[in-house]
Amino acid sequence: MAGTDTMGKEMVPPDDGADRVSGAIASRLGGGGRERTRAHRPYGHIAEFDSARAVYEAAKKMRDAGFKKWDVHSPYPIHGMDEAMGLGKSILSWLVFFGGAFGFFIAVVLAGFTQVSLYPTIVQAKPANWNTIPAFFPIMFELTVLFSAFTVLTGILLLNQLPRFNHPLFNSERFSRFSDDGFFISVEVTDPLYSKEATPEFLESIGATAVELVAHDDD
């Protein structure tokens, strides 16, 4: 019961009555009284699929079943998966629009304000006023692009809550295949539809070749 092999091909979560499963450390201790206190909170189930097609079809069923806290993990972005998961368009483009607008504003102030008010440089027969604005266009363009690019990077990190170096999913040896040729669906225990018994069965019914319970680190 306690020392369940998390490397097993098809694993059903241990039904020990409590909503906690024993993890690697507990199983190494060989059971006993301390096991409960060292036990790991479950994070959720991961299900492995054997192809992009299989995980795509399964994702549609997950979406239709009404799961909320779940995700698909794949080595590359699968075309059409956003629709299959019922996700909308990323809001990143809006963030980048405002990032770019900010860059443009910076350029107007930097080039225009310094040249017109702060330190007019009267060279090249160009007037030191706003009529010379075409000469500032390259700076405006470059800073718009630069700040947009910064916003792309920070936006992706913020929206994805990265970097996050540790994650319960990394506790699964099987899961590391996601970056090679593995396709996974993960369902968190915090999902309102999650059930310790029904969810793994559901995952198998939608085509999973293996289902595994993943636990948090010791905490």
């Binding site: 075309h79 483009s93 040249q115 690019a149 792309v152 994805n160 990265l162 996050r164």
Partner: protein, 484 residues
């Protein structure tokens, strides 16, 4: 799953994902990855470059490159400690080799972002095999380029005067100057290219992280992989970000060499003061950049056995880009001559007459003409595009020719302008030659280190263009096992 019960014939039929609609006979599209390689094979082959011992040839190339990079450092120290006079540039040719080399390297740095951005927007899926290396090459070329203007200013410790902050005398930069636009354009280009390159690397770094045994390597790759776990909720923002960066980089890549050309075109020097410069420079930059990509990738694919990923089709496509841009460049050369004659400005026509016919540097002009206009015409022929020796020979011509082009534009023009009393002759000193040679060492050394430590091909992107990556693929599931 669906084809579990179908017959063998039906499986074969269904495996073509680019199947034509019924009743239409088309030429089948060439696969982007040959021999039906699996995703696992792609991972193994590309990560294998990093995980296995480097071939002897890597060391044979790396050690001289590192030595040349050391020579570069030595030459720069010698320059700074002695004074700018050890370079040959002086009035009237104040720009000399330094700016020639700057424009040369920055031009090479255009192919990477062109491949990653413009070809991405144009949905040229063949770019996935070459974009990573081309982007890396871009960064290293821009680094080499940046060295020259910084040291060319003479007192390089004052180079911070270029930054958009008031200098020590509270004087602000002249934002109306093309030279300052250049500072913004090149530094923005470098920064955005780094972001683009790094963002593309994140999923591949995760692949390497997951393959490493626990240890310092895993920690380092893990830090740069940012804890990537391939989640589709992440891919959603990631793909949008990648698209946005491509859309932003597309005008950016066109702007950089346009702004570089403004350094020349906005002056009133005969031979420089032309409106054709921005498109002519951009076409030339793409031309030279693709030649350098091929120069690096043809040996690399051979050394590391990447022929199934960088196929003859890729080389063929790049050769076609070279003949297209080379012809645009040739057109620009001829149009310059036509306008010099037709424009009726005697300084302009005089400048070109001395450039082409009777000046001190006519051999440079005709070398440029041969290397950039005549040599690439070989690529009209399929045989030439598929013979790697011919491709390499033409690319070497183009690499040299693009340097000659910048020399012709800068030096021949400055050496002979309005008054014969101002005329001069410029030739580089050994220090300049050694410095330029040193930048090749730096460039190659950085590229070899990149191949040693980072995935040279975008693993995740290549997996995405495999037939079975399509969620509607109904092909043979057994393919996986065949490749093991």
């Amino acid at each position: 799953m669906a084809n579990g019960t179908t017959t063998a014939d039906a499986t074969v039929e269904a495996s073509g994902i680019h199947s034509d609609p019924p009743g239409v006979q088309g030429v089948p599209r060439e696969p982007l990855v040959l021999n039906g390689r699996s995703m696992h094979w792609v991972t193994e082959r590309i990560c294998g470059i990093i995980e296995n011992r480097q071939p002897l040839l890597w060391w044979v190339l790396f050690l001289p490159s590192a030595a040349l990079a050391g020579l570069l450092a030595f030459m720069l120290v010698y320059l700074v400690s002695t004074g700018i006079g050890i370079w040959g540039n002086n009035q009237p040719v104040a720009w000399g080799w330094a700016i020639t080399n700057f424009v040369f390297w920055i031009g090479i740095g255009h192919a990477g972002t062109l491949i990653s951005a413009i070809l991405f927007l144009l949905r040229q899926r063949w770019r996935t095999s070459i974009n990573r290396a081309a982007e890396a090459m871009t960064l290293f070329a821009v680094m080499c380029a940046g060295i020259f203007p910084v040291f060319h200013v003479g007192r390089f410790w004052m180079a911070w005067f270029l930054a958009p902050i008031p200098n020590a005398n509270a004087i602000w930069q002249n934002f109306k100057s093309p030279l300052l636009w250049d500072v913004f354009a090149v530094s923005t280009y470098f920064t955005v290219s780094v972001i683009f390159w790094y963002l593309g690397l994140v999923p591949d770094l995760a692949t390497i992280r997951d393959r490493c045994k626990p240890g310092i390597k895993k920690i380092l790759y893990g830090i740069f992989a940012l804890g990537w776990r391939g989640a589709n909720r992440h891919w959603r923002h990631y793909e949008m970000g990648y698209l946005l960066l491509a859309a932003l980089s597309t005008p950016l890549v066109l702007s950089v060499h346009s702004v570089v050309s403004f350094d020349f075109a906005t002056s009133v020097v005969p031979g420089w003061h032309t409106t054709i410069f921005p498109p002519y420079f951009v076409a030339g930059a793409i031309f030279g950049g693709f030649a350098m990509v091929l120069t690096l990738m043809i040996p690399a694919r051979r050394i590391y056995g990447l022929q199934d990923l960088i196929t003859a089709k890729h080389i063929d496509n790049m050769a076609k880009v070279i003949v297209l841009t080379g012809s645009i460049v040739g057109y620009a050369y001829l149009m310059e001559l036509f306008v010099a004659w037709y424009g009726g400005n005697k300084f302009e026509s005089g400048a070109f007459a001395m450039r082409v016919l009777n000046g001190p540097y006519t051999s440079y002009y005709w070398t440029m003409m041969f290397c950039n206009v005549v040599a690439p015409q070989a690529f009209w022929f399929r045989w030439c595009r598929h013979n790697l020796w011919v491709v390499m020979a033409v690319c070497m011509c183009v690499n040299a020719g693009m340097w000659y082009e910048r020399f012709v534009i800068i030096v021949t023009t400055l050496a002979r302008d309005f008054l014969p009393g101002q005329w001069g002759y410029y030739s580089p000193t050994w220090v300049e030659k050694a410095t330029f040679l040193g930048t090749f060492g730096l460039f190659l050394m950085l590229f070899l280190l990149f191949m040693r430590f980072l995935p040279v091909i975008a693993i995740a992107e290549v997996k995405g263009v495999l037939p079975e990556a399509d969620p509607h693929y109904e092909g043979d599931k057994k393919k996986k096992d065949q490749n093991k």
